[in-house]
């Protein structure tokens, strides 16, 4: 135990307690104009010189395009008392960076921020002591400004003058109190993003832009259907192209490496034409996806329930099948009061694609000390024979460099110590897209051409068709209300796959990487498990009602088969659970003749929850609505506290709807406690909400019995500029509360607010996402 007595270190600091793993003081001018990353081989590092020195911050978290490294830089600069321009945020690299697990779940500021705050406070304390010794004064006489320690007599020293890695070669104690919030000068300000100038002026900053010496280009030819097997292959035409280095076939994994990218693309087309596949239908009937989800083999678990009164109407029934009923079936359990009515409704979301703008990519370099391993140019080689201990370097936009390394080691039967994974920014991923899969693709191709770095970039069709999807689900809500319409008991029941098949999520199962499942002897990636509700759950995320209902029960039916691979998509199950629960709550409010805002407030006890609902209503002009309501218009509200533990969020949506729904305006109120960077937080909330509008109105993965058919932007359309609503975000004051994760908080409430607004406009409850003309008309006709 390194921690000081009575101190509990944040989890990622407890797991990586050495101060020097998080922070390094670097004296002297450092040539690096971009204040983030910079040590990417093949990337560009250029720019000015920082007089004096810098501090390198090595977080285990990675930049996913939402500015988290800028926020973490602010935290570090604040505690160290250095200018933001002196902080270099380093990319996560296995073997060097602390292992903070995945950058996911809106936890980076909450956890990495908490770790860095203690690390930097302690580092400042240690350097302060060194400065006091150097200057011969007591610590309390020193001032610290932009890294300089000043004595009363005008003498000064600095982090850079004192720089000594041994000072931080010790375990964190947590014994150096961080600054009080009242002393912050940098945290809480809207510092501009450190990475944007490069990214907006075309400098190479993305994984796609890596161009190390000797780079060659790989492409993978995917099967034409799920579960299809490669039974014949003619490589002649592909190998005939000048510049083709090799073709790799391993079971049903098929790829090509060429000197030039355009040649790799042409060769992949020729390989595709020369491949013979055995294909058969494996997917369910897309027209009855809800029927499949409810009927497939599943493991049923009660995720949460109140201990009181399991004999109430709703909770006593294992499955409520009736349509909305107007009266109670059974008598009144005394503690809950008299049941006036019972209600039930079923909601559905389809599979959703991450649909990153930049298709997944990775670059890999294999080096073998055994030259026998080099493949003959122009002949098919077996990429699986990775004996003689090749070393592998991989550059990836993965969300977890250590987890990817471990899964690559498992898939390739290598020692993790022989693999280095370096994070390089990709396009926004919004969860587990094809990033990790592309890393294995690149590794397999690189092992076939040792000594040559190989870059793989997925096609758009592969990104939309083969990356993991957000899981489809059916959610059934049921409730009993008292004669005044107040909820007495509430039941939330979910059918669908679990939400994470990330690398490392199933160490006992086959490697959870696409190519591993296609290689000879490979097996399908296994269906996802359900993480504990204490960690936010997966399918069950936000299924526990945030309202003070006297009784509730949450049941999950986790599918034991996974026809389409699913994995983490921003907010996991919270998107459909909040859509369903907040829609259902509006149905109860309507049945009771109550206003949706008033109805929510009457069931909400948490003052912070009440405050965001009230703020969103006030700011949107909820009460003025009847006076300004336009023809065909409706408004609606949705509320959730993400994961029941992160930021609070209420959204009011205003829509117009005839049969096509258009969202005109979103008013969003968020309480995230301490906000490191208000502009960045507002940007992230607005972005999440707009993405949720796109999911809610337009998005649905389409498939036939063989494979995914929505593999272009025409068949998987997303929201366009002209369709984007006005968005107004209000961040409530932190009031001394700790920072809460914000990145996913708007997803569910936005969907619910839109669904409720559509009901307000049309008088029709559309319970099937997306709210397309097709589904609106179907609801009208139901």
């Amino acid at each position: 135990m390194s921690a000081a007595k009575g101190i509990v270190l944040p989890p990622s600091l407890a797991a990586n307690p050495r101060l020097g793993d998080w922070l390094r003081v670097r004296p002297g001018g450092v040539k690096d104009g971009s204040a983030e990353g910079g040590v990417v081989e093949g990337g560009v590092v250029e720019g000015g010189v920082v007089e004096g020195g810098i501090v390198e911050v090595w977080p285990g978290k990675v930049e996913l395009g939402q500015g988290v490294l800028t926020a973490l830089a602010q935290v570090a600069a604040e505690e160290l008392d250095v200018g933001l321009g002196r902080v270099r945020m380093m990319p996560a690299v296995t073997g060097l960076s602390p292992d903070e697990g995945y950058t996911a779940g809106s936890m980076s500021v909450q956890y990495s921020g908490a770790a860095l705050r203690l690390v930097c406070a302690e580092a400042r304390g240690l350097y302060l002591a060194a400065a006091a010794a150097r200057l011969g004064v007591t610590e309390d006489k020193l001032t610290v400004a932009d890294g300089e320690f000043g004595a009363p007599d005008g003498r000064a020293t600095s982090y850079w003058e004192l720089a000594d890695d041994r000072l931080l070669d010790r375990l964190a104690t947590g014994g150096y109190p961080p600054k009080p919030v009242s002393a912050y000068r940098l945290v809480g300000t809207s510092a501009p993003r450190l990475d944007l100038p490069d990214k907006l002026t075309g400098r190479p900053r993305y994984a796609h832009d890596l161009s190390p010496d000797g780079l060659c280009y790989g492409r993978v030819v995917r099967p034409p259907a799920r579960g299809a097997t490669l039974t014949g292959l003619d490589t002649t035409a592909a190998l005939a192209l000048p510049g083709v280095l090799t073709v790799i076939r391993d079971g049903s994994f098929l790829g090509v490496v060429a000197e030039r990218e355009e040649v790799a693309l042409r060769a992949a087309d020729r390989l595709r034409a020369g491949a013979v596949w055995d294909r058969h239908p494996t997917l369910p009937d897309a027209a009855d996806l809800p029927g499949f989800l409810v009927g497939a083999p599943a493991e049923t678990t009660v995720l949460a329930e109140t201990t009181v009164l399991a004999e109430t109407t709703v909770l006593a029934e294992t499955m409520v099948s009736a349509e909305t009923t107007g009266s109670a079936e059974t008598g009144e359990p005394p503690a809950l009061g008299q049941v006036g009515a019972s209600y039930e409704a079923t909601y559905h979301r389809p599979y959703l694609a991450h649909a990153s703008m930049g298709p997944s990519t990775a670059t890999a370099l294999a080096t073998a000390d055994n030259s026998d391993h080099a493949s003959d140019s122009g002949s098919a080689s077996d990429s699986g024979s990775a004996q003689n201990g090749p070393r592998l370097r991989v550059w990836s936009h993965t969300q977890g460099v250590y987890q990817l390394r471990a899964e690559l080691a498992r898939a390739l039967a290598l020692d993790p110590g022989d693999i280095t994974v370096t994070h390089v920014a990709g396009a926004g991923c919004y969860g587990h897209n094809g990033a990790d899969d592309a890393a294995l693709d690149a590794a397999l191709l690189a092992l076939a051409v040792p000594g040559r770095p190989v870059q793989v970039v997925w096609s758009r069709a592969d990104e939309l068709g083969w990356a993991p999807f957000g899981a489809a689900a059916v959610v059934r809500l049921a409730a009993d209300t008292d004669p005044a319409g107040e909820v007495l008991s509430w039941r939330h029941e979910i059918w669908g796959n679990g939400h994470s098949t990330r690398p490392g999520s199933n160490p006992a199962g086959p490697a959870a990487l696409l190519a591993a499942s296609h290689r000879a002897g490979g097996a399908d990636i296994e269906p996802a498990a359900e993480p504990p509700m204490a960690r936010g759950g997966g399918a069950g995320r936000n299924a526990v009602p945030p309202y003070a209902f006297p009784a509730h029960q949450v049941v999950n039916h986790r599918l034991l088969e996974m026809p389409l691979r699913v994995s983490a998509l921003r907010s996991l199950g919270a998107f459909v659970n909040v859509f369903a629960a907040e829609s259902f709550l509006d149905e109860l409010a309507a049945a009771a003749g109550r206003d949706p805002v008033e109805y929510r407030l009457s069931h909400l006890a948490d003052p912070r929850a009440r405050a965001v609902v009230e703020a969103a209503a006030r700011r949107s002009g909820w009460d003025d609505w009847p006076a300004r309501r336009a023809e065909d218009a409706g408004h609606g509200i949705g509320f959730a506290r993400y994961k029941n533990s992160a930021a609070y969020c209420a959204v009011v949506a205003e829509v117009t709807a005839v049969t096509e729904v258009r969202v005109r305006r979103l008013t969003i109120a968020v309480d995230a406690g301490l906000i490191i960077n208000p502009d960045g937080a507002a940007n992230q909330v607005e972005g999440g909400a707009i993405q949720a509008v796109s999911w809610t109105l337009k998005e649905q993965v389409r498939f036939d019995r063989y494979g995914v058919t929505s593999d272009t932007w025409e068949t998987y359309p997303i929201l366009t500029f002209s369709e984007v609503p006005a968005v107004d975000v209000e961040l409530l004051p932190g009031d001394g509360n700790p920072a809460l994760g914000i990145g996913e908080t708007a997803q569910g409430p936005t969907a619910a607010a839109i669904g409720n607004a559509v009901y307000d406009a049309l008088g029709v409850r559309v319970r099937t996402l997306p709210l397309t003309e097709e589904n609106v008309v179907a609801a009208m006709e139901a």
Binding site: G65, K199, T201, P242, A355, M357, F721
Partner: protein
């Protein structure tokens, strides 16, 4: 004519410079820009001209470079995001995007900058709706749309206020 890497010499005119590359005439312009010329600002998004990440100006008009064969731009003037501003001076749209922090991941923005620059050249005073219409061919997944529109309108205002900046276009 061919070496082991394949291809034949072709000359292209990019950002005011004549450059020779070795490739095939049907190679998409995107790969020539990114790999042969090292201009990584133009990005691959879909390969079908549907997302706008790969937009460049061809003789001043926005064009998708991902499905534009090299033979189609022979003797035409190609401008990439790197060539839009003056030396050391980003284009006013770029400056406005940075000033407005109008991005999250940033991947789509090279194409947005090209489309917006072309819009402001033909319409120096666009409405909010006109900006959105001009950017409907550019997809953004992060939800930065409203900030981008505000930045483009701010750049338009700056350009109208300072006629000397017209040289940027």
């Amino acid at each position: 004519m061919e070496d082991e890497r394949g291809g034949a010499p072709v000359t292209v005119l990019v950002n005011g410079q004549r450059r020779e590359v070795r490739t095939e005439p049907d190679t998409a312009l995107l790969y020539v820009l990114r790999n042969h010329l090292g201009l990584k600002g133009t990005r691959f998004g879909c390969g079908l001209g549907l997302c706008g990440a790969c937009l460049v100006l061809v003789d001043g008009q926005p064009a998708y470079s991902c499905d534009m064969p090299l033979w189609a731009v022979r003797d035409k003037e190609i401008t990439t995001v790197e060539g839009l501003g003056m030396a050391g001076q980003p284009h006013p749209v770029t400056k406005a995007l940075i000033a407005g922090q109008a991005a999250q991941c940033g991947y789509c923005l090279s194409g947005v900058i090209i489309a917006a620059a072309a819009l402001l050249k033909r319409n120096p005073d666009p409405s909010d709706e006109e900006v959105r219409g001009a950017l409907d061919g550019n997809l953004c997944r992060c939800g930065s749309h409203n900030r981008i529109v505000r930045a483009v309108l701010a750049a338009a205002a700056e350009l109208r206020a300072g006629p000397q900046d017209r040289a940027h276009l």
